[in-house]
């Protein structure tokens, strides 16, 4: 698991989010901590699956979450190019 910062901003009457970078020349309204699962994993809060990423709201902590491996991908077709 790892975290990033998402910035809620506004510019010229348009609201937006900057995910993982800090935007410039905008009005930053809010900062949010985002908890991510590693590739191939999904997050669980207790027994409930919450997906690949979750917004840690005030009062929530990383300790409330666990990672579980996603189901395996199906077998791919052979990669060789048959001529």
């Amino acid at each position: 698991m790892y975290t990033t910062i998402t910035y809620i901003f506004e510019k010229d009457g348009v609201k937006g989010m900057a995910c993982g970078y800090k935007p410039e020349n905008v009005t930053i309204l809010e900062e949010r901590v985002i908890l991510h699962a590693e590739d191939g994993y999904t997050l669980y809060k207790g027994e409930e699956e919450v997906g690949g990423a979750v917004w840690l709201v005030t009062g929530d902590t990383i300790d409330n979450y666990t990672e579980k491996e996603l189901p395996p991908e199906p077998e791919e077709e052979p990669e060789e190019n048959l001529d």
């Binding site: 990033t4 998402t6 809620i8 348009v14 609201k15 937006g16 989010m17 900057a18 995910c19 993982g20 970078y21 935007p23 949010r32 985002i34 991510h36 699962a37 590739d39 999904t42 699956e49 919450v50 997906g51 690949g52 990423a53 979750v54 917004w55 996603l70 189901p71 991908e73 077709e77 190019n81 048959l82 001529d83």
Partner: protein, 697 residues
Amino acid sequence: MFDRTKLLNIGGGVLPRSWQYSSSDDITTNGYFPAESRIQSGDKLTHVVYDRDNATYNTTSYFVDKDDDGVLSVSEIPGGGSANLKELEVDSHIYEQIIIPAPGWDGYNKVTVHKVTSAIDSNITASNIVNGVNILGVVGTASASAPKEVARYVIDENGVATVSNRNLTGAFDDITSLGEDSLKSAFSNTNVYGEISFNNCSAIRNNALSYAFSNTNISGEVSLQNCLGVNFSGLYGAFQNTNISFFNAPKMYSTTWGHCFDNTFNNCKNLRGFNLSNMQSVLQGSAETFRNAFASSGIENATFYINGAQINTFIDAFYNCKNLTYANFSEITTLSYQGAFNGTFYYCTNLTNVYFNSVSSITASDCFVNAFKGDSNLSYVNFENLYSISASGNNTFVGAFNGCSNFSQGNIFGAVNRITSSSTQQRNIFNGTFYNTGLTNMYFSNLTTLSGNAVFNKAFQYCSYLKDIYFPSFYNWNNSNLVFGSGMLQFVSNCTVHFPKSTQNSMSTWSQVASGFGGTNITVLWDLPSISNNFNDSGCYNIMSSGTIGGNTFAVGASSESADAWQAMKNSSSDLSTGWHSGVSEAPHYFDLYFPEGAQCNYIYWDIANSVDRTTNAPEFINVCVSDDGNTWKQVGSSFVMSRETSDFTEYEIHLTYPRFYKYYRLFFNSYQNNPSYITTINRLYFYLGLCRYNEE
């Protein structure tokens, strides 16, 4: 008499006139004999005397012999001076002849051999000779074509088939029906060749031709166009790995033909095309139909004109077809069979254009899994009428365009209005669909309804050129944090995702959105025109308060108006007299709406106050036309769908089946009984986007 002894004692000289000397090498020296030193054994003296009484010549010959000591001697050749000869005539025969003179005769002084005639062999007849060819005076009358070779194959007691004659051209011309398993693998892996046709065969039963000609040297066109029916697996692998160049399909009246064309033309490198136009409408088979049918073949153009025949699947049908450049499935309107196009065009590296332009809905799961995987030259796939994706399972487009490095058609799913899925699995509708493609932007212009889980899971993984994704109609979702799935933009950087302003309050709380969909340096903007979610909000009736042309408001026009058209857009529930009146003029009357940013309408409502004389004012019917430029129009809907009466109004509705974004809408109204003296009145007109009214904030 010449004293021959003198011959032995002299050194050569002149012979008497009746004598002749010839050396052993047959050199005759008339009148002379050689010197002693040149006389050889085998030399001959001949004395010829004319018998006047019998009028004949009597010849006496003498051999000259010279022994090793050089001693010469002369001996008379028996009968040489008195041979009894006769003449002989001989007929030619096909056999050897040895002829000995009859008793009393010493030989023949003249032999005449008669020339060969056609009588020499009784087979020399006109019917056995090619027409126009003369053999020994007999002119042929037989046909120039070679006698037909008929393939003969024998199956021994151990079930091993051998073929005694290889050319199969015309070999099956007299066959009228093929029973179940009749030619199953019959010629497979043999040295047969020629062109195959079953032009008089009316039915091909189960497995009748399964692998019949696989791995042989048959070539040219395969003709089955007169065959009326093919049953289950009838042509399974029939021509696999051969040199055939074209295929004429049978008429296919039969009811069950699952697996019929599975592997049929697999690895036919010389196969360039096929004609399926003979295939009539048949009942849908329950099993696969074209699995691997043309895989690794030389097919260049895959156009399916199937006269309404219901074909289930094309799983791997054109896998590895390197010559395939174009595919057309315009006749298909609904995809309901699981796996229909899974792997169908996998590794068709020269494929550029594919058409599914009549497909309006997809209800099957696993429909296009890896369908175009590895097609590095693919540039255009037509789904212009695809409105609904409602897979009962999931994985509809999993990996569909994986590795299509030149694919940048951002509006491929621009017509899709609703995506619904009941699946709770993590891999879903667009899982990995555009993995590593050349997309620079993506438009889901008409997508209003989205449900299910992980719909866009890893949809745009490794799309390194992707900069913008637009969801301008995004309104009705299942409000779940999981709807997008994780990693929609995994391994994508610096991309912006656009949503309508009206969705900002709710969507900004979604973790999938706030995380940037798993990408790097992702921006989410709510910069698109809002979609009202207050379907029954009466406060949204009022769209215009006065006529305004251009800008971000409606521009309303009408022909022959006596009341401004914008009056129909007012909230005038209390004023039953206001509205748009077309004025007296020749029908039809029409009413234009202009949306500078485009709008998607799927539902139009209007009413007429009960106080209005509907005999002379109510429109008889309405046509809806759309345009992107105000000049070129296309009709998208017509006639009334429903009407109802209330205390004050008579209300009318029309639903547009496949709503899309257009800038111009024209509503044609024909006056009652098409009477040019009548006018059209609309007291109130409501225009709906998706499930919402358009409401400019």
